[in-house]
C-alpha cells in the first residue's frame, strides 16, 4: 500500500507571483467591414443613450411627458405607452430573462457579439481609443511617445491635457445623460447649467464621470479579462457549431513569406497563407494573438478580421484567413470536405422559442393588466367585534388602485356572509347598500370598511368573503378575497 508517489520534475508548477502587470495595448487603426459595423453600432447605441431622455410622449394633463422616465419620488416607471407601478416590477424580471436568453442566443450563433459590439465597456473604450488615436497618433507613434525618455515638451503636454480633457468631457456627458432618465430632462439641463440642480444630480454625474473615465480610459480590456463574469459564463455556453472569430490554421500554417510560399507551391508542397505580419495583433484592442486559438481575453470584435483582410488584399491572397468560423469546419477542410454551417440547430431553436415564450407571456400580461385593483387587509386586533344586538362586525383596511390617468367612481360590494351590511367610514353615499367612492387619478385610495352580519345566520368561524369594486363608468371590475370571522 505504501506506494511512493514520484513527482515528475517537469510537472512542478512555477511558484511565481500571482500578479501580472498590465501590458499596455496600443491598437492600430483598422478599416473594413467590421470596423464599419462597429462605428454604426456605436453611433446608434450612444445616440439612443444620449437622446432618449429628450423624446417626449403625451400622457395627458398632470402626467410627465417624457417618453422614458424613472420617477423615483412618485414610484412610477414610464416607457412610451407603458406606465408601471412598483408592484409590477416583475416586468423587469421578464425583461432580464429575455436579455439573458438573447445573450445565450447571440452566443450560440456568433460568439461574443455582445462583448465585441454592444457592451458599454467596449463601446466607450472604443470611443476613448478613437480620441487617443486622433490626438496622439496611431499605434507606432503612441508606442514611441510612451517609451520616450525625453523630458516633456510643450506640444506633448498639450496632447496629454487635450486627450484627458476630451475623455473627461465624454465621461461627464455619460453621467449627465444618466441623471436625465430620472427627472424631466429639459428642466434638469436648465437647472444643471444654472447650478440650481439638486446635489444628488451633481453627485451622480461625478460618480459616473469617474467610473467612465477610469473604466474606458485606464482599465479598458482589464475589465473584460479580470472583472467581468460573462467571458467565463459564455465559455460554458458556447458549443462546437457557434461561429467565433477564428484563425483558420488549416489555411494559415505554416507561416511563411509570400515568396517562399509561392516557391513551395510551385514544387507542389504545402504552404501556409499567414505571412506573420502581426497586423491582427496590432489591431487587437485587448492585445492578444488570435492565432493562438480561442481565448478568454478575446472579445470577438472582428477588428483582426479587417486587419488580416487588408493584408490579404495587398498580397493578392484570398480574404478571411481570420473570420467567423468554427473548429469543425477547419477539421473538415483539412480532411478535404466542404464546410457546413448550422445556424438553425436545436440549441438556437430552443433559445428562440424560449425568447418568444417569455416575450409572449410578458406581452399578454402587459395587454391584459388590470388598471383597477383592490387589496384587502383584515383588522388583526380585534379580529371580530360583537355588537349590542348580538351581530358580528369585521373591519378591513381596503386599498383601491386606480392606474388610469383620470378620476373614476367605483361601487363596493361584498359577497360572503349572509345579510351582510357594508359601511365605508367617512362615506355618506347616496347608495348606502353599495357605497360609491371616488378614486383619484393614477393613485391609491385607502378606506376603512366595516362589514356587519347577524351571528345566527353566520355560524361558521370563518367565511370566505369577496370584496368587489365596479367602475360605474367603464364597467371594469376588480375583486379580492378575505374572510369574515366570528369571535
Amino acid at each position: 500500500m505504501n506506494k511512493i508517489i514520484q513527482t515528475d520534475p517537469d510537472q512542478v508548477e512555477d511558484v511565481g507571483p500571482l500578479y501580472a502587470a498590465r501590458k499596455n495595448v496600443y491598437p492600430q487603426s483598422v478599416f473594413g467591414t467590421f470596423r464599419r459595423i462597429k462605428w454604426g453600432l456605436m453611433a446608434f447605441c450612444l445616440g439612443v443613450y444620449y437622446l432618449l431622455p429628450f423624446v417626449r410622449w403625451n400622457r395627458g394633463l398632470g402626467a410627465p411627458d417624457q417618453a422614458v422616465l424613472i420617477d423615483l419620488p412618485n414610484s412610477r416607471f414610464y416607457f412610451f405607452f407603458i406606465e408601471l407601478w412598483p408592484q409590477e416590477v416583475y416586468y423587469f424580471t421578464g425583461l432580464l430573462i429575455i436579455a439573458a436568453l438573447t445573450l445565450f442566443l447571440m452566443n450560440s450563433v456568433g460568439g461574443r457579439i455582445w462583448c465585441g459590439y454592444l457592451c458599454p465597456q467596449t463601446v466607450w473604450t472604443d470611443l476613448f481609443y478613437a480620441v487617443e488615436r486622433l490626438i496622439e497618433g496611431d499605434r507606432r507613434e503612441r508606442m514611441r511617445k510612451a517609451a520616450s525618455a525625453d523630458p516633456l515638451k510643450l506640444g506633448r503636454v498639450f496632447e496629454i491635457v487635450l486627450k484627458h480633457s476630451i475623455w473627461l468631457l465624454i465621461a461627464w456627458w455619460t453621467g449627465g445623460a444618466w441623471v436625465l432618465y430620472f427627472t424631466d430632462a429639459p428642466t434638469l439641463v436648465k437647472k444643471l447649467v444654472t447650478f440650481q440642480a439638486p446635489a444628488i444630480a451633481y453627485i451622480w454625474i461625478a460618480i459616473l464621470t469617474a467610473t467612465t473615465y477610469l473604466l474606458a480610459g485606464f482599465m479598458r480590456e482589464q475589465v473584460c479579462v479580470y472583472m467581468c463574469p460573462w467571458p467565463r459564463i459564455q465559455a460554458a455556453l458556447t458549443d462546437e457549431w457557434a461561429l467565433n472569430v477564428t484563425y483558420r490554421y488549416d489555411r494559415g500554417e505554416k507561416r511563411m513569406s509570400v515568396k517562399k510560399a509561392n516557391e513551395l507551391r510551385a514544387l507542389g508542397l504545402p504552404a501556409g497563407d499567414c505571412v506573420d505580419c502581426y497586423q491582427c495583433v496590432a489591431a487587437c484592442p485587448t492585445g492578444i494573438d488570435i492565432r493562438n486559438g480561442p481565448q478568454i481575453d478575446c472579445i470577438q470584435c472582428g477588428l483582426c478580421i479587417d486587419a488580416c483582410d487588408n493584408v490579404m488584399k495587398k498580397i493578392g491572397g484570398p480574404t478571411r484567413l481570420i473570420g467567423y468560423d468554427n473548429d469543425i469546419n477547419i477539421q473538415r477542410r483539412m480532411a478535404g470536405e466542404p464546410p457546413i454551417y448550422r445556424i438553425v440547430r436545436p440549441r438556437t431553436i430552443i433559445y428562440t422559442a424560449l425568447i418568444a415564450l417569455v416575450g409572449g407571456i410578458m406581452l399578454y400580461a402587459l395587454l391584459t393588466r388590470s388598471l383597477l385593483d383592490i387589496n384587502v387587509l383584515h383588522d388583526r386586533n380585534p379580529v371580530a367585534v360583537k355588537l349590542s344586538d348580538g351581530s358580528i362586525r369585521n373591519a378591513y383596511t381596503v386599498r383601491l388602485l386606480n392606474k388610469r390617468g383620470f378620476d373614476r367612481v367605483v361601487t363596493i360590494d361584498v359577497d360572503g356572509p349572509q345579510d351582510a351590511v357594508l359601511h365605508v367610514v367617512g362615506d355618506d353615499s347616496i347608495t348606502p347598500d353599495r357605497p360609491m367612492v371616488v378614486l383619484g387619478r393614477d393613485g391609491t385610495t385607502e378606506l376603512r370598511v366595516l362589514v356587519t352580519a347577524p351571528s345566527e345566520k353566520n355560524t361558521e368561524k370563518s367565511i370566505p368573503t369577496k370584496f368587489r369594486i365596479t367602475d360605474i363608468g367603464l364597467g371594469e371590475v376588480a375583486s379580492a378575497i378575505d374572510n369574515f370571522v366570528s369571535p
Binding site: 360583537k386 355588537l387 362586525r393 373591519a395 367610514v425 367617512g426 385610495t445 385607502e446
Partner: protein, 289 residues
Amino acid sequence: MAESELDEVSGKTTTGHQWDGIKELNTPLPRWWLITFYASILWAIGYWVVYPAWPLLWSYTRGALNYSTRAAVGVELAILEKIRGDKMIALGAASLADIEKDPALLTLARARGKAAFGDNCAPCHGSGGAGAKGYPNLNDDDWLWGGSLDQIVQTIQFGARSGHTKTHEGAMLAFGKEGILKRDEIGTVANYVRSLSGLPTRQGYDVAAGAKIFAENCTSCHGEAGKGNQELGAPNLTDKIWLYGSDEATLSETITNGRAGVMPAWVGRLDPSTIKALAVYVHTLGGGK
C-alpha cells in the same frame, strides 16, 4: 538581560530582551500608525475646545460651539411641528363632524389618533381598542358614556371617576357590602338581570321577587326596562355586551361589591388637536354613533 545588538537578518537592533534564546527585535511602529495616533490626539484636543467635554463640579465645559444635544432635539421637534403645522392647524380648526367628511383630514386624524392611542390608551383598551374585562371595547356600538363624537371628546378630556371636577361621576353601588341586599336576594336579581337580555336563568328562581328587587333598587340608574342611562354611565342590561361578564357568579359579584372603573382625564396632558384626532380615531373604529 542581554545587550542590545544588531540583528543580521533584518538589519535592525534588538531590544535586549531574550527568552530561551529568542530575541526581540526593536521594530519601530509603522509611520502611518504613528501619524494616525498623533492626529487622534490633536483631534481630541480640538474636540475639547469645540464641544462640551469636561465635567466641572456643578456644570461642564460648554465648548466654543455651545452645542447641546437637548437643544438639537428641540430644533428637530420645532422642524417637525413646522412640517405638520398647516395640517394640524387645519385639524384643530375643523369641526368634529367635518373631519370625517374630508378624506384628507380623516386620514390625518386617523393616523395621528392611532399614534396617540398607542401611546396613551392602549395599556388599558388594547392596541386595537378591543378592551378587556373592565375596560370597554371601543370597537362595538355599546357606549357607557355615549358614542357620539362630542361625547367621546368629553370622556377623553375629563375621564370617568378621574377626580377632575368635570369628570363623569356615578358608580355601581355595593348592594351586598353595604347591607342593602341579602345574599339570596342578590342571586335572585342576578338571574332576573340575565333574563333581561334573554340569557338562560336558574331553574325555579323567583321571577316576581327578582322583578321587585330590580324595580326597587336598580331602575333609578338602569331604567325600568334595564336599558341603562348614559348620563350616569349605567350600562344597558338588555344587550349582548357585558363589561365584566354575564354569568351568575360575576353578576352576583358586581351587585355585591359594586363597580367603579376609572378612566383618567386627558385634558392638559394632550393638546386639543390630539384629543380631537383621538376622538375621530375611536369614532371610526366602527362603533361611533
